[in-house]
Symmetry: C2
Subunit: 291 residues, 2 copies
DNA sequence: GATGATTACGGACGCCGTAAGCATA
DNA sequence: TATGCTTACGGCGTCCGTAATCATC
């Protein structure tokens, strides 16, 4: 087994076909077919059913390991690439609901200390943040998610990347004005189990806040006003940090009761970051409310 | 970068020489030299200083990742190897200070349910337990270590292996009868900072209980009577779980004060274990005091 | 019948071994 | 001077591409 094989397995799982995987990897269909066949022979397990191509349980298992292995390979390569190099550019990724004021304030501090560093800020999805930092296309990522209080977001293997918590904010259920539950002082999630949600895969907690949540509308984007507009329009509720709903027209924000969850923002970077990256992390942490 | 390269890096780090690494890997010295040279060129970093061969910071970093990557590769291979196979043999590894009564009791239950399974029990070191389970040479390992109360032992990447806590026991400082501190009701570790320890790398907590602990005697073994004999003989103290000192001649066991630490026993296995392995784990957990 | 995986075969590249070269303790 | 890493070079194996075959929708 070599990394090449794991890359092939993962590509096939992602693409759902040998042809697609070959395109992704820059190989021919035949090459991928041979790789998988050889690997299956080596491991003594069929990894994929064919026609349609679908991973067997063994294939799924291997793919799960492969993803983590290749992620760590990326991290290793990136760490070495950044060793003892003074980066001239700081690339920051920010998730849509990560507290934006933090970045602005931290950047101001960075500007004072290192005025020459060029800073690029880019909006990212939480799902791609880890891969981007691992691959070295981002130096720092602000990621948000929903978790139990004081619990880190499980973004990657513990310790693979450097991460620290910045802010935890209460969660609210966003409802349209006039909603029957809008006058409550708090809402438990199970109360809304059968109520419609605006499913928003691009935002944390809005994927499916309740297991088996129904959703008449799926919003495949991460634009907060659009989401709030959909909620105000009566297409469903949404689970959001308090700040996201402040002052939104037609929206009532009711604090979440049970389960006890919070919206958490963390900063992510390679371990052993230096220079501007390190300073940026320090400035962010200094402004975060979690020590 | 391929797994072959990572194996080479790790072998060189372990062996401290290209020659030794080559022997370990079944290659010639020249092959290892070429592999490292090629990898250094690819990564753009010198990984080892030569004469003597010693990892550079970049090499150390890479080796750390390599170890975790290769461990996960082993786990992946082992998981697939055990998929849907009814193992006829259950191989159990037990660390010297892991509560032995648990194994006996759990085995009795297993015997009733699956009388035909052949069981092999083997003494192991905590340091090798993870590697053995990952490599598939052990089905179940009982590992012990010292940690803060209710904190898991950090044996491997979280989630890589299935692990669960069985027992937490108070720690005591083992002192020879007549020791000036022997009449105390508890001892803080810092009190013993400058006192001699019997350094026992093969047992948990006895490696160097206090950072920078001095030790006139190093016992390179894991034989409890021998260790207790050394303590009784006045060669130093030792940090042990209560049960290990019960009734030992010439020994006084004084409860540990600060820091608050416990001796913890965990069971380790591949995730998704089936058959006898799964039953054994269940039986062990049922008899453990931690739910 | 078309899409897409498998198999056959050939060529090229990469990797390792042998052997000579070279630096350091 | 000896140990041990580096370099040169050659052969073998592996891996991928082309192309024909086969299976499934």
């Amino acid at each position: 087994m070599e990394l090449r094989d794991l890359r092939a397995v993962l590509a096939v799982v992602r693409a759902g076909s040998f042809t697609g995987a070959a395109a992704e990897l820059g190989y021919t269909q035949s090459a991928v077919s041979q790789q998988i066949a050889t690997l299956e022979a080596e491991l003594g397990h069929r990894l994929f059913d064919r026609r349609p191509v679908r991973p067997t349980p063994a294939g799924e298992r291997l793919a799960e390991h492969a993803a983590r292995i290749l992620l760590r390979v990326d991290v290793a390569r990136s760490e070495l690439a950044h060793l003892a190099q003074a980066p001239v550019e700081l690339r920051v990724g920010v998730c849509p609901l990560a507290v934006p004021g933090l970045v602005a304030a931290a950047l101001r501090e960075l500007r004072v200390e290192q005025p020459t560093v060029r800073v690029t800020i880019r909006s990212i999805d939480a799902s791609s943040a880890v891969a981007e930092v691992a691959a070295g296309t981002l130096d720092v990522a602000l990621v948000d998610g929903i978790t139990a209080p004081d619990n880190p977001l499980a973004l990657a293997d513990a310790g693979l990347l450097a991460s620290s918590a910045l802010v935890e904010a209460p969660l609210v259920v966003a409802l349209p004005v006039g909603h029957p539950l809008a006058r409550r002082t708090s809402i438990d999630l199970d109360v809304l189990a059968d109520a419609p949600w605006v499913i928003t895969p691009g935002l944390p907690g809005s994927g499916a806040p309740v297991p088996g949540a129904t959703g008449s509308v799926v919003y495949d984007g991460n634009d907060l006003p659009t989401l709030l507009g959909l909620v105000a329009g009566g297409h469903g509720s949404a689970l959001l940090p308090t700040s996201a709903c402040a002052g939104a027209p037609g929206i009532v924000a009711v604090p979440l009761g049970r389960p006890t969850l919070v919206h958490r923002t963390e900063v992510l970077a390679l371990r052993g970051a230096t220079g501007a990256t390190r300073r940026m992390i320090g400035a962010l942490r200094a402004r975060g409310s979690i020590t």
